[in-house]
Symmetry: C2
Subunit: 362 residues, 2 copies
């Protein structure tokens, strides 16, 4: 088929079509340089500008204070799991982690390699189907930092609060699956990181926003690539950065700005998610898997009455041009991932299809 | 300008134009899936095929034996510097390194973080302008491994031999700047790695070829992402791989196969380099900086009689559509990087321009 379909992939995920069109042009010849974006030296004037604009647009979008650095790294959130602990968790110290699912658990595992971990809250008792209420979070006495995962792709849950963090500590957040889907108060964090492949761009780029006093506070000697200070000092160019990915992320920043910024993104994302959650709530056939007060605007997880019907739903949906709806095996059923670039029309179309399917199979 | 120019960048570097044309199509909609290559889940059938074909084509190209694994990782050679030592250099052991320039020196630095380093040969005495002769390499008694850098981008030198390696040890090679520019006998190595951005694709992907007994021999506990075993076990998909980069590298493999493979690449690269070296050798104006028997077919470094004339050469060349000719500051002068995808016609055109420039300024 020549046309594009509705792509509900949990990540890598759909990108804005205008960004793809520009990329088609720029991989052949960017900015009339006679050279494609993948082929420019990372020290060239063209890439200087790509990197500078990406950082400037990121700062504009999230109103990032001057005392924060913006980095574009490699290795995904999985590398950040270990870098955060390697840099900031001394062997005799404790870091606090909120355990809200598989990715939070992986972050906890890597931290345990370097120091002590206190699980300050968990929703493991109900298969991570909810965000622990703010009053249930019990921090340790003097945590090196407090870490949480703002949106849980697999379980379709999302924090609607920012956890507290005591003086002398700092807040770390893995925002891989909801960064820039809503406004962020960066000043509440010491460190924010996000793999790009859900809301920002292709896989292979990790956005890091770090308060500028932190890189100097590394608690142990580290190999060069694992130290935040290396990358801050070198302005993301200690080694060759993932240049094409940085370019795409920069283009996505420009697209979000053109859409009127994070507040508008949040409104749209909320409306898009409501279309699906309303359909689920008005159905006697489908049911949501996340608690209502913990529901994600990014990943809408739902089940049908039987595994057979779920299989049929996914197959029928696929035949109608809805791709990527199979839920993660640890939840089962269906998952519609509807990140920033996912169009509202796709949510309407899926809701319509759900009602049709229920009528025919309910 | 609408047209593409001759791009002599040392990396990221020129890619085959047919690969760029296909990428223009596939970032919109790959394999009639209705979804672009950057937007497919790394667990999708489409990406399964991209990854499988990239590995299979890599194996075909380099006749990689069955007991070697092929990985596509992130973090560049700079991350391999530390991973090699972290995995295989115990604190009380020694690894042998051949020091042939800045990148080899960086590898040595990271290894020193984990164990002892013996510099088995060096050409530092003459600013790395030559490859230490095979008979000058003096290994330690029982090295954990022997590491060298097959081509030195900055200095324009290239090994024309494979160093010896004693029983009980294994050979490690950073082939970032000449991988697949000539045939390789993979069976002589324990581990080969290469950042993609010179001969294979965009920055952000690292090719690793590792003998399958090695990942099980890690000498210390490691965070998950730093262990080769993690990535071997997960088939390069422990976390989200740099999917677009893997796709491009796979397309470049197909392009090399279509050009008739590594033997043909080597012949062409040798002819391309000869056009420039012959021009240098027949000139009384330009001089090469690398010893004749150490000259690289990938990076041709040369000087003019004065810094002023070099500046003028680079400016005039740039005005004529030859980009990226400025040499690295530690050598000075000019450097023409002419990797696999660089066209022979570009070498002829540069040689012609060099003769013209000499006639006008000599």
């Amino acid at each position: 088929m020549a046309e594009r379909i509705y792509n509900f992939s949990a990540g890598p995920a759909v990108l804005p079509e205008s960004v793809l069109r520009d990329a088609q042009r720029d991989i052949w010849n960017i900015a009339d340089s006679g050279i494609g974006i993948m082929e420019h030296s990372h020290r060239s004037a063209v890439f200087d500008r790509v990197l500078e604009e990406a950082e400037a647009d990121c700062r504009t979008l999230a109103a990032i204070p001057d005392n924060y650095r913006v980095l574009f790294l490699q290795g995904g959130a999985s590398t950040q799991f270990l870098m955060v602990a390697a840099n900031f968790l001394a062997e005799n110290r404790t870091a606090d982690y909120l355990n809200t699912g598989a990715w939070a658990a992986k972050a906890i595992k890597e931290a345990g390699f370097y120091g002590n971990v206190h699980v300050a809250a968990t929703s493991e008792d109900e298969n991570f189907s909810y965000i622990p209420p703010v009053e249930s979070v019990v921090l340790s006495d003097s945590p090196a930092y407090v870490h949480y995962t703002s949106n849980n792709t697999i379980f379709g849950t999302q924090f609607d609060y920012v956890p507290e963090c005591p003086d002398g500590s700092f807040l770390v957040c893995d925002m891989s699956s909801d960064i820039f889907s809503r406004p962020i108060d960066v000043s509440r964090y010491g460190l924010i990181y996000a793999g790009a492949q859900k809301n920002l761009g292709p896989s292979g780029v990790t956005l890091v926003i770090i308060r500028d006093d932190l890189p100097g506070q590394t608690v142990r000697p580290l190999p060069t690539m694992l130290s935040y200070e290396t990358h801050v000092t070198a302005g993301s160019r200690f080694n060759t950065p993932p240049a094409f990915g940085v370019y795409i992320v920069g283009q996505v920043f420009k697209w979000i700005i053109a859409q009127d910024g994070l507040k508008t993104m949040a409104e749209r994302n909320s409306e898009k998610a409501s279309v699906l959650y309303d359909t689920i709530d008005h159905s006697s056939f489908f049911r949501g898997t996340a608690r209502e007060n913990s529901r994600s605007t990014m990943n809408v997880c739902f089940r049908a009455p039987s595994a057979e019907l779920e299989k049929k739903f996914i197959a029928d949906a696929s035949a109608r041009g809805f791709s990527g709806l199979k839920g993660h095996r640890s939840v089962g059923g269906m998952r519609a991932s509807i990140y920033n670039a996912f169009p509202a029309a796709g949510c309407e179309a899926l809701a319509e299809f759900m009602r049709e399917f229920e009528a025919a199979n309910g």
